[in-house]
């Protein structure tokens, strides 16, 4: 019953986010600020992680190809498939649930604790729209982050595979182009859009409805990370079943 109550409140929050819009000129500035905080601020860590994830995928694949009958190009093929289908959209989103999610929960939670949200409400401002809507809009840029992660991941796989001596550059590039299905990119970006929405709204929910003081802000950040990850993993399964099978 407790979880049903929270799920109900989450959807009521979404209704509040998209109603009684804040003045357009104010919203525009807030959206740019959120893009800077949530998207631009995440690029560095995303590029770093994606590069090494791609590199590890290439090495693991290479080390498991013990049968000499299996062509070496498979390393490029497997790296591309793993990075595009799973590692870039899902793995990076789980990490973003920690980075972006805890930032959103702690910033909104601190505003709750220090009565800044009450101050907005007293002024007659729809605090949900003012605080959460710009984050949702900013996160529509998130697929660009994932696109960069895909590129960097495959680049990392290339570096590790070729310079690690596992296969030649031409073998990797042949494997990379082999049996490419454009729909897989569509699938990956559909997932990414959903994850972007979840990354903006679930941590906002935990920050907005938190009660207590500084300690509870920390607890809310942790539970926001856990729940965002849980929902991402479940929706990953559901979307994969719906879109690929």
């Amino acid at each position: 019953m407790f979880y049903l109550d929270d799920i109900g409140r989450y959807f009521l929050m979404l209704k509040g986010v998209f109603s009684r819009m804040t003045k357009r000129s104010v919203l525009r500035n807030l959206i740019f600020k959120e893009i800077d905080d949530l998207i631009i601020g995440s690029l560095g860590i995303t590029v770093f992680l994606a590069f090494f994830i791609g590199a590890v995928v290439a090495i693991q694949t290479a080390l498991n190809l013990t049968n000499p009958l299996i062509p070496k190009q498979l390393i490029g093929f497997a790296s591309r498939q793993s990075v595009i289908l799973e590692f870039a959209p899902t793995f990076i989103s789980v990490i973003m649930a920690g980075k972006v999610g805890s930032f959103i929960t702690s910033s909104i939670g601190t505003m709750r604790v220090t009565e800044q949200i009450d101050a907005l409400e007293v002024m007659g401002i729809n605090s949900l729209n003012y605080l959460v809507f710009p984050k949702v809009v900013a996160m529509f840029m998130y697929p660009f982050v994932i696109a960069i992660a895909m590129f960097t991941g495959i680049f990392g796989a290339y570096i590790a595979g070729v310079y690690g001596g596992f296969l030649s550059s031409s073998d990797f590039l042949t494997g990379l182009r082999e049996e490419f299905i454009p729909y897989h990119l569509v699938y990956a970006f559909i997932k990414t859009f959903l994850y972007a929405f979840l990354l903006a709204t679930i941590p906002s929910f935990h920050g907005y409805y938190m009660k207590g003081g500084a300690l509870e802000v920390g607890k809310a950040s942790t539970s926001a990370f856990v729940w965002t990850t849980v929902v991402i993993v479940i929706s990953n399964y559901v979307l994969t079943q719906l879109l690929l099978s």
Binding site: K23, E115, D118, A119, V122, I125
Partner: protein, 254 residues
């Protein structure tokens, strides 16, 4: 003027406010006092429209809040200013941006005109050179003055203050009290202050409402509070050693 009639409010089955009826007058500093847990903050949040009463009504210059539609309630809220206990300034904004915020949200004036109004209000609260500073870079007393400036920048009809003196030294507390009183008189607004500071009662208590366990125990002004024989009020007032010594000295004819 704010008229409160038979106000009830509770949480999870526990009654916090138990039938409060009183009137807060325009152009005067109205104080809500009482011990911790007496229901002062809940009462103030009901007045602000942050809590919906279970029973009773709050009437703002003839408009009963519960009878207004959502748009009218929003219009009414735009006529309210609030000074929070912890100032509740927006951390990421400078002093100037904090004070300009309500104007940015609701005013249709040009930015230059808004800036003029912001500077006028900041001058009024004696904060001429703090425009570019962040809330974390100024003292507690200055933060309170910024909060007052933000609350009055839109020229509200109602000003609410939740323990405006908490965490301030006695001298700064008096400055803040007098500032609120002067602004109330200058702008002819209805000011309601939630406090348990007896110095504030002495300084600016033009109308005092004493709450005890959710009931309105006593109401009067700052001269009457020292003469009342209501035991709860007497215990509250003379719980301060300073006031106890003054009273003992008066009784001894010193």
């Amino acid at each position: 003027m704010i008229e409160v009639k038979d106000l009830h409010k509770g949480f999870n089955g526990e009654k916090i406010l138990k039938g409060i009826t009183t009137t807060f007058h325009r152009g005067k500093t109205n104080l809500i006092i009482g011990t911790s847990g007496s229901g002062k903050t809940v009462f103030l949040k009901c007045l602000l429209g942050l809590f919906t009463p279970e029973k009773g009504s709050i009437c703002y210059d003839g408009s009963t809040y519960s009878e207004l539609d959502e748009a009218q309630q929003r219009d009414l809220k735009e006529q309210m200013g609030m000074v929070f206990q912890g100032s509740a300034l927006f951390d990421s904004m400078t002093v100037e941006e904090n004070v300009m915020f309500p104007l940015m949200m609701f005013s249709k004036h040009k930015k230059d005109e808004m800036l003029d109004r912001v500077n006028e209000v900041l001058n009024r609260v004696n904060l001429e050179n703090a425009n570019a500073k962040l809330p974390s870079e100024i003292s507690g007393g200055m933060q309170k003055r910024v909060a007052i400036a933000r609350a009055v920048v839109t020229k509200p009809k109602y000003l609410f203050c939740d323990e405006p003196n908490s965490g301030l030294d006695p001298r700064t507390a008096i400055v803040i009290d007098n500032l609120i009183k002067e602004i109330t008189e200058e702008n002819d607004i209805t000011t309601v202050i939630n406090t348990h500071d007896m110095n504030s009662v002495m300084e600016i208590g033009e109308k005092i409402v004493f709450l005890k366990n959710g009931f309105l125990e006593w109401e009067g002004d700052k001269t009457q509070i020292f003469k009342t024989d209501n035991q709860a009020v007497t215990e509250f007032v003379y719980s301060s050693n300073l006031f106890k010594k003054v009273r003992d000295a008066q009784l001894k004819g010193l």
